[in-house]
Amino acid sequence: MGSLLKRYREPLFVIGLLGASFLAFFVNAKKGRSPNTVERFLVAGMAPVENFITWAAFGAVDAWKGYFALRSVREQDLALRRQNIQAREIESQNAELRQENERLRRLLDFADKQAPKRLLVARVVAVGASPHSHSVRIDRGSDDGVTRGAAVIAPDGIVGTVAQLTGSYADVQLIVSPLSAVPALTQRTRSRSTVKGTGDIQRCILEYAARTDDLQEGDVLVTAGGPGFFPQGLKIGTAVNVVRKPHGLFLDAEVKPAVDFTRLDEVEVVVEQTLQPLGSTP
């Protein structure tokens, strides 16, 4: 028996290692757990280094852009001033619409069942190490009120959800990850579907979109909302390669994400806010 074990110790060791890592992965995937002390220690060593390198690299780029590459700034300044005036006009109109919306909601006795949310700005400090990982690391963690599963958004649309957390950092699983699925609404027709990641950073697939839906190329898909998901109405992307098969319940389509994940530098994390008593608004 001893000699047999000695003879096959190499394959037995490798099989044991494979089995142990698979079992540990399987248990973690089913239960979900927070990082342990060793993992927190390693991330605490890794993330500040990533943060520093990113800060130094972008600092150098900013310095170059800010001091050495100032050509045509005057023209840009004028154009931006014009855009600013237009934006202020739109903002003022939006404020009017918000107030009107609020009045109408009160008239209809509308009760928002969702807990109030606040947006926490976070800086992206790194991406997932493996090319197959589809994640980004942000400089906000549980100390800032971020929780696992929190939605992460950018000005152009949704980014993903928080999958792993330490005190000061969080890893965000992008919507293009094969592990991601987001309930969606077609903005034009209000029909429901699910946007599923494929592992390709430039496309997702649309699932459970009924064949009878009037989905067209270029239709905008927004989040459907619901407890535990993204707030309703945030842009996910646009429908492309819509194929309506002659039979079957669902049509085939792909979704081009609204966000360019290679150019993310700042994002916003949606965190739950504790309810304020009525009349205590500042």
Binding site: R9, E10, P11, F13, V14, L17, L18, S21, F22, A24, F25, N28, A29, G32, R33, P35, E39, L42, V43, G45, M46, V49, E50, I53, T54, A57, F58, V124, V125, A126, V127, G128, A129, S130, P131, H132, S133, H134, S135, V136, R137, A163, Q164, D171, V172, Q173, S177, P178, L179, K196, T198, G199, D200, I201, Q202, T262, R263
Partner: protein, 169 residues
């Protein structure tokens, strides 16, 4: 030998940081090199089975810590890739930079296929191969492979010299 293991693990740590920062700073879309895979490839071709498999698990674990996926997925993938490369690569040579680049290109494709299969199996969505990003990533890995091989060879040659002169153990 313990020091060599510690240095390979430290190198994996440095490469994991580089792998998560460089593509972000350079805004690389697809041609992202998989530096830790190159380490796994080197171990599969040069180390003994037990030590190579254990160090591959360590390399995979560093990927796990930065990947927002259930922990040990990349550990499992790294060991599985080590086994496949060990079996398939017994006849391969990686003496020069060009040879290591070619072998790394192939290894990256094998790893991507295994990753897609494992992801497809566990997410229940079926296996989706994205050939273009796969090829770009393999290209990036092939470009980076000679440098990583050089680092590991330097590390190993220092140990050979030290052991020949009765130094490090």
């Amino acid at each position: 030998m313990t020091l060599r293991i510690a240095l390979v693990v430290a190198l994996c740590f440095v490469l994991a940081v580089a792998e998560s920062v460089v593509p972000f700073v350079l805004q690389l879309r697809s041609a992202r090199p998989d530096l830790l895979l190159v380490v796994v490839l080197y171990l599969a071709l040069h180390d003994d089975v037990m030590q190579g498999a254990a160090l591959s698990a360590a390399a995979g674990y560093f990927s796990d810590l930065t990947s927002a996926t259930p922990v040990f997925l990349y550990t499992f993938l790294a060991v599985l890739t080590f086994v496949v490369l060990r079996i398939a690569g017994s006849g391969l040579k990686t003496e020069g930079g060009a040879q290591s680049a070619v072998v790394a290109f192939g290894a990256s494709l094998v790893h991507a296929l295994i990753a897609a299969a494992v992801f497809g199996f566990f997410t229940g969505t079926g296996v989706h191969f994205a050939p273009v990003p796969m090829l770009w990533s393999a290209f990036g890995t092939a470009l980076a492979a000679p440098l990583v091989f050089l680092l590991l060879r330097r590390l190993d040659s220092n140990f050979v010299h030290a052991e020949e002169s009765g130094g490090l153990r």
